[in-house]
């Protein structure tokens, strides 16, 4: 992989973000509105002696942004190139597919950190919730689990769009949200219906949220929970890379890759 080419794609993402109101709204404004809404719900619950539930809800919404933004950045970032008929230009340059994807992933990570910083600050000032109470190590591990998982989902979505065209482009910003109800994002997994718990255990995101809540409650790192989450996320990632490679190759084989821009 070549760092300069990764920088080139990263630069494109940066230019698009500063010029495009849609991206700014999707990546910063909507998430911040969600954080404010959940912060208000959290205040309400705290005021009714449900301080733990209140903290869990706001923490869940703050951390969910990591998954959302990274998945959005990888999948929708490429859509701008397709919509502008620029994807072919990118791939007839000496650019490796891996470099392209990694650049979008890094761009997503930067945006997620920026939003977490703003959202965390807002929560501390307005809702008196200190996100850092989770613990720095727990936060880092949560970020790691979520970013790997979001990347895995996003590249499958991207592969599907390359393979089947823009008629399924809505998946690029919607598929990841299907994961949210099954990830125990806002409450402990033990409080979910039994059948849903079984589903939730298959998602790495569940372990990230569980680990973060553990850190918040006990001030300690749930190494085992994060360990399972990381292994599961890595498995998802490896599998998704195979799926993506297959879909990308099929897309070029069927001519769909070039037709995506027509």
């Amino acid at each position: 992989m070549n760092l300069r080419r990764i920088y080139g794609v990263f630069l494109q993402e940066y230019y698009m973000t500063i010029h495009s109101l849609e991206i700014f709204v999707d990546v910063f404004i909507f998430p911040l509105i969600n954080i404010v809404v959940f912060g208000l719900i959290s205040l309400y619950l705290v005021g009714n002696d449900n301080s733990v539930a209140g903290a869990f809800i706001l923490l869940g919404m703050l951390l969910w942004q990591i998954i959302w933004i990274i998945a959005y950045s990888v999948a929708v970032g490429s859509m701008w190139n397709i919509w502008s008929r620029n994807l072919s230009n990118m791939f007839v340059a000496p650019l490796e597919l891996e470099e392209y994807i990694v650049a979008h992933f890094l761009s997503g990570c930067v945006k997620a950190v920026a939003l977490l910083a703003v959202g965390g600050f807002l929560s501390a000032i307005v809702f008196r919730f200190d996100m850092l109470a989770v613990g720095l190590m727990s936060l880092l591990l949560t970020f790691l689990v979520f970013s790997i998982f979001a990347f895995a989902v996003a590249i499958v979505v991207l592969g599907l769009i390359f393979r089947y065209g823009t008629r399924i482009q809505a998946l690029s910003w919607s598929l990841i949200t299907i994961v949210q109800p099954f990830s125990a994002a806002f409450f402990p997994i033990a409080d979910m219906p039994r059948a849903l718990q079984l589903v939730a255990y298959f998602f790495p995101s569940t372990y990230g949220f569980e680990g973060a809540r553990y850190g918040l409650l006990y001030g300690d790192v749930a190494w085992g929970v994060f360990g399972v989450g990381l292994i599961l996320a890595s498995l998802y990632c490896i599998l998704s890379m195979f799926v993506f490679q297959y879909l990308y190759t099929r897309s070029r084989d069927t001519g769909q890759f070039a037709r995506n821009e027509s």
Partner: protein, 302 residues
């Protein structure tokens, strides 16, 4: 050694043969036109030559190196310009070019971008958003992009499509200058026969995925022997009609005092001599020689 060599290239889509074993090469400093009716396989060929569509068989070599095995190395030395591919509309011209300068790892990218923008008289638009540019300006920016890496060959897919004649002519002049100044090789597709005749050294005619003709534009037009002699008369045109009927000529009468005679090109001097002795007064003579378009139509109709 050719800059680009294509051997027995094939592509099949679900039972439909799009490209059927074509072979051709592009030599250094030469412009090769890729022509053919819609569905002939031109676009599929270009896509395979760029690696965005996979071939089912055959080989593509740039600079003597197999494209599949040396993809990045080849792409670093080639480039692409098309009227159908645009840059990102929401970012500025300079930002778009900067992205590609990084992808091609151009040393001192801003200097290179400035030089090329000036060369194409686009330096006043560096800070303009790409989507705010006219078609002609976009074409020039696309050409700037395609020259960022000082390519040895550029694949051009109808670069003048949708341009008005004046801008298209200017674009062709740029391309001609590039070829003469830098000895760049170009593979050029277009539907505009006049363009092809003007700039291409050789032409590859594709039809239903196969090469049906491969020659210089001049030699190709010689394949069509039919020409049209258009004569305008002042008077006594009936005598001309009678003479033409007697001698078994094929002719049209588009206007009462005009006759268009369809004949072999080499028979026209004799024909003209004979008509001049019929007694009618000729006021205008026009000989329409076969063009590349006639060759194209003949191939497409056959």
């Amino acid at each position: 050694m050719p800059v680009l060599e294509v051997k027995n290239l094939r592509k099949k889509y679900r039972g439909t043969v799009a490209v059927d074993g074509i072979s051709f090469s592009v030599e250094k400093g030469k412009i090769v036109g890729l022509l053919g009716p819609n569905g002939a396989g031109k676009t599929t060929t270009i896509q395979m030559l760029l690696g965005i569509t996979l071939a089912n068989g055959g080989s593509i070599s740039y600079f003597g190196k197999d494209f599949r095995a040396h993809r990045l190395e080849c792409l670093q030395r080639i480039n692409f310009a098309s009227a159908f591919n645009t840059l990102l509309g929401r970012i500025t011209v300079r930002e778009n070019l900067r992205v590609f300068a990084e992808l091609y790892q151009i040393p001192n990218p801003n200097k290179k971008i400035d030089e090329l923008l000036e060369r194409f008289e686009m330096n006043g638009f560096a800070s303009s958003l790409y989507w705010g540019l006219s078609s002609g300006q976009r074409t020039r920016v696309n050409l700037v992009k395609s020259l960022l890496n000082d390519p040895e060959i550029i694949l051009m897919d109808e670069p003048t499509a949708s341009l008005d004649p004046d801008i298209a002519d200017k674009t062709l002049s740029y391309i001609e200058e590039l070829q003469s100044e830098r000895a760049i090789s170009i593979l050029y597709t277009s539907h505009n026969m006049a363009e092809i005749t003007r700039i291409c050294d050789t032409v590859v005619f594709l039809d239903r995925g196969r090469i049906v003709a491969h020659d210089t534009p001049q030699n190709l037009t010689r394949r069509v022997s039919a020409a049209t002699l258009r004569l305008v008369f002042l008077s006594d045109i009936e005598k001309v009609h009678a003479h033409l009927r007697e001698t078994g000529q094929t002719f049209d009468v588009p206007h009462p005092n005009v006759v268009e005679i369809h004949s072999e090109e080499n028979l026209i001097p004799n024909l003209l001599f004979a008509i001049s002795h019929v007694g009618a007064t000729i006021v205008d003579i026009e000989i329409r020689k076969p063009t590349l378009e006639d060759v194209f139509l003949q191939i497409a109709r056959n």
